[in-house]
Amino acid sequence: KKKVPARPETFKMQRNFTELKINGLRKKFAQKMLHKARTLIYEKAEHYHKEYRQMDRTEIRVARMARKAGNFYVPAKPKVMFLLQLLCLCQIFSGTFVKLNKASINMLRIAERYIAWGYPNLKSVNELIYQCGYGKISKKQIALTDNTLIARSLGKYGITCMEDLIHEIYTVGKCLKEANNFLWSFKLSFPQGGMKKKTIHFVESGDAGNREDQINRLITRMN
């Protein structure tokens, strides 16, 4: 609304009415769009819920089938892992998601002494993003309190709500890089119940390095 120079009162009144009307219409339109967006998010969430369930049940079913036939079922290699830096330039006990490929595995091997990492499950991913999720919005760390924040930054990749974000990370999607980049590093607290020994590898009953599935326990304790 721009400031209007002094006009005769009648004009002012007319102008005000039209402006009010326009604003009213705009509001209605905005609400409509919002409603649409929300229904869309709802449907997406429903879809993801089903998808996760399916993924899970498939695993179990296939494993059972294999056992029945006397075979072994080798689950697919994990595609995403979670890093927790023990001693880091950024901050201790901060975490990020990392896509698993040869390059990143080699990187991790170099940094093994300072990181704990593993393969998060859906619950961990959920916990992290809902509880400690902050987004990098215009270079600032902003709490993910609303889906619009995500939509504004990641809308062009098709990620418009929290559920989308979680889905993208859990099932390694095409835009994992962007989604991960959007997420600020998770600032976790000291693990409740303590750490075993920071300096040696998990395999040696320490805490460093790859601990595969056990990362989920650690994440729950640190959340």
């Binding site: 609304k1 400031k3 120079p5 179990i60 509880q131 709490a143």
Partner: protein, 372 residues
């Protein structure tokens, strides 16, 4: 900027206006820079200085020599000879009694300062401009309440008066217009705002002396009045003008505060804001839980009834405690099935553990169907 009227009335010596007008020379609209006036004044005042210095030989009229080391005294030069208090006293140092001062002043110090001609002219014009503003003149403590107009211009005839008292105006220096170039007159002490009385011809000559913004000064070589930094200094009026207002965007009055982050896993409302579907999920789990609990209860009741029937037949009384055990066993077996389903309910509410087991039983049978 001085808001002076372009036409000034002229007055007779007795304070009556002669009815004739003179246009205001451009000098009186000069931008007033008291800092420049002060600077020029302090530097020009130095031209009247006479050199001063201490005597060259002051403090050196002794033949003092240091005693050197080994005599448990400071190494300052000490006065030779003996027989007087003065002997052995320190000499030559600024810290010594009767010694020369630190850095004795010299006559060849730089006494005079030069100021750029333009700066000098700038200062004079500032001072003249200031003399046209009653506020500034009054702040210089001139009593001008009775004065009809500033700048005060009087008819040429008044030149004839020998005493200013005749003209009934307080009046200190009477100088020809050209001499106004002395800053002393217009801004004595480096402060602007001296009360000046002009004769008509002197007033008229100001335009030639200093020029206007349209033409250069004719009586000076190569001098123009400097430009104002701001032509229109009424800032509030400028800001409210339609030209500027039209170009502005709407003011942002809304203060954006940081949103308080609440944990969606614990706070249902916030969770729903982010993910509507959780409501359905949780409602479903509650329903399932209730249903399963009911089933469990029914089952237990049925089992109890069956056992009772059996025990009635056999006539054993102590079978009842076994029911509890059996019930627990059933729960345990169901619990084992539960574990892989933990991941399925990401936004699961925290339910007490024993209650969970019957709840999970039903979904396993339900959800196996879509997977198969």
């Amino acid at each position: 900027m001085a808001c002076a009227c372009p036409l000034i009335l002229m007055y007779y010596r007795k304070g009556e206006s002669s009815g004739k007008n003179v246009t205001l020379p451009a000098v009186f609209k000069y931008p007033i820079g008291p800092d420049i006036v002060n600077f020029v004044h302090t530097n020009l005042r130095k031209k009247n200085r006479q050199p001063y210095a201490v005597s060259e030989i002051a403090g050196h009229q002794t033949s003092a020599e240091a005693w050197g080391i080994g005599r448990a005294v400071a190494r300052i030069p000490r006065v030779q000879s003996g027989g007087t208090h003065r002997s052995g006293q320190g000499a030559f140092g600024n810290m010594c009694h009767g010694g020369q001062m630190f850095a004795p002043t010299k006559t060849w110090c730089c006494w005079h300062r030069r100021v750029n001609t333009t700066q000098k002219r700038y200062a004079v014009c500032c001072a003249l401009a200031a003399s046209a503003l009653p506020a500034l003149v009054m702040s210089k403590c001139h009593r001008i309440e009775e004065v009809p107009e500033l700048p005060l211009v009087v008819e040429d005839k008044v030149e004839g008066c020998k005493q200013t008292k005749e003209a009934k105006h307080p009046w200190n220096y009477f100088a020809q217009c050209k001499q106004i170039e002395h800053l002393k007159l217009a801004a004595p002490g480096g402060h602007v705002g001296r009360f000046c009385i002009w004769t008509k011809s002197a007033f008229r000559k100001l335009d030639e002396l200093y020029g206007t913004w349209r033409k250069a000064a004719s009586l000076k070589s190569n001098y123009n009045l400097p430009m104002h930094k701001m032509n229109n200094t009424d800032l509030s009026r400028i800001l409210k003008s339609p030209e500027i207002q039209r170009a502005l965007r709407a003011p942002r009055k809304k203060i954006h505060c940081r949103d308080l982050k609440k944990n969606p896993l614990k706070n249902l409302r916030i969770m729903l804001k982010l993910n509507l579907y959780t409501k359905i999920m949780r409602w479903n789990t509650i329903l399932c839980q209730a249903r399963n609990h009911k089933l469990q209860v029914d089952k237990a009741a049925a089992a109890a009834a069956a056992l009772e029937a059996k025990s009635d037949e056999k006539g054993v009384a102590g079978k009842k405690p076994v029911i509890g055990k059996k019930g627990k066993k059933a729960a345990v077996s169901v619990k084992k099935q539960k574990k892989p389903l933990v991941g399925k309910k990401p936004a699961a509410t925290k339910k007490p553990a024993p209650e969970k087991t019957p709840a999970e039983k039903k979904p396993t049978t339900e959800e196996k169907k879509p997977a198969a």
